[in-house]
Symmetry: C2
């Protein structure tokens, strides 16, 4: 069936979607009313039209500066660097951070031929150099994998001297995790990063 196969192939391009889930999604749309399907299509077309990147932090924004960059109550002396816009939502949920963000849109990955110029590194350097008030601290919250680590070390080298201090989010055992299932690197970090109770 040509049309169905073509749509299932398009669904398979969504991140993490396997053949079963793609079939289930196609079945959902086949059962959906024409109105529901049109609403989906309009909502998709609208984000392509309306959603831009914030000119300061490169998170999503539909109208100039994003909500966080516009918020007068955020601490402008703090910038937390993340790989993707979705990471911001996770960090916001902690309620533990009141500074600004900077979205790289990826991590540096020499293996995949993705260098600093493919992510928003130059924009970060320009931003901290011209920041008023000056930036006291840049917290690097790239993913704790090899690309995120490479990116963190690379950024730390560039940023030292430009900002008060550069920090990296803490490594350790995640809450709810099982000590005996934890890899030795993580456990090693959790020992080094132990705190008094």
């Amino acid at each position: 069936m040509k049309s169905l196969d073509r749509f299932i192939r398009a669904l398979r391009r969504l991140p993490g979607v396997g053949p079963r889930q793609a079939e289930r999604f196609a079945a959902y749309f086949l059962r959906a009313s024409q109105g529901e399907t049109e609403e989906f299509i309009h909502a998709l077309a609208a984000i392509k039209q309306d959603v831009k990147l914030c000119p300061q932090c490169f998170s999503y924004s539909e109208d100039g500066l994003c909500e966080i960059c516009r918020d007068p109550d955020r601490d402008r002396g703090l910038i937390c660097v993340v790989e993707d816009p979705q990471d911001i939502e996770s960090l916001e949920k902690t309620g533990a951070y009141k500074g600004l963000y900077h979205v790289l849109h990826g991590a540096i990955s020499p293996m995949d031929g993705r260098g600093a110029e493919q992510v928003k590194v130059r924009e970060l350097l320009e931003r901290v150099q011209h920041a008023q008030p000056p930036v006291r601290e840049v917290i690097i919250a790239t993913d704790p994998d090899s690309e995120g680590e490479t990116t963190a070390l690379y950024l730390a080298d560039l940023l030292r001297g430009l900002v008060g201090q550069v920090t990296r989010i803490g490594y350790g055992v995640p809450l709810g995790g099982d000590i005996d299932y934890m890899d030795e690197m993580t456990l090693g970090y959790s020992l080094k990063g132990r705190t008094k109770i």
Copy 2:
């Protein structure tokens, strides 16, 4: 952000999609080229236009009878009843079945107010009554949950007398399963359904 929130709400309606996956899908579309997005939209619009139900078995079909119903090599004396079109693909993968199918498009669920008239039961009865050659066996392959069981018993009552025999797919321990994690109902069935080796 109005547009993004609206699209994420639309994505959340897809089966099994939680807030994180919806955000990841939205990020995929925001990164996708305009051409890729248009291709997705066209593919979606095309299935709504092209994909119909096979007038005999009610599986998906883009042109009259579906491929299986049209296939002269399938055994027309056998009908396997399933809840959803996707179930057919799973059964076809076994390579163990060469008959036809009948898709109910759901199961009977008195708790949810879904009776026999909401699924393709009447169509199944008419089909077996007029089938040439007559139907030797109807295999009921509804899900082994309470709705699927209710539906199987209900159909068996209606079909007895109209067809040679009515059978139900076998219950037992799934391959690769762990005996000590298996529920006692399944284990009970696997004991009753034991075969000589």
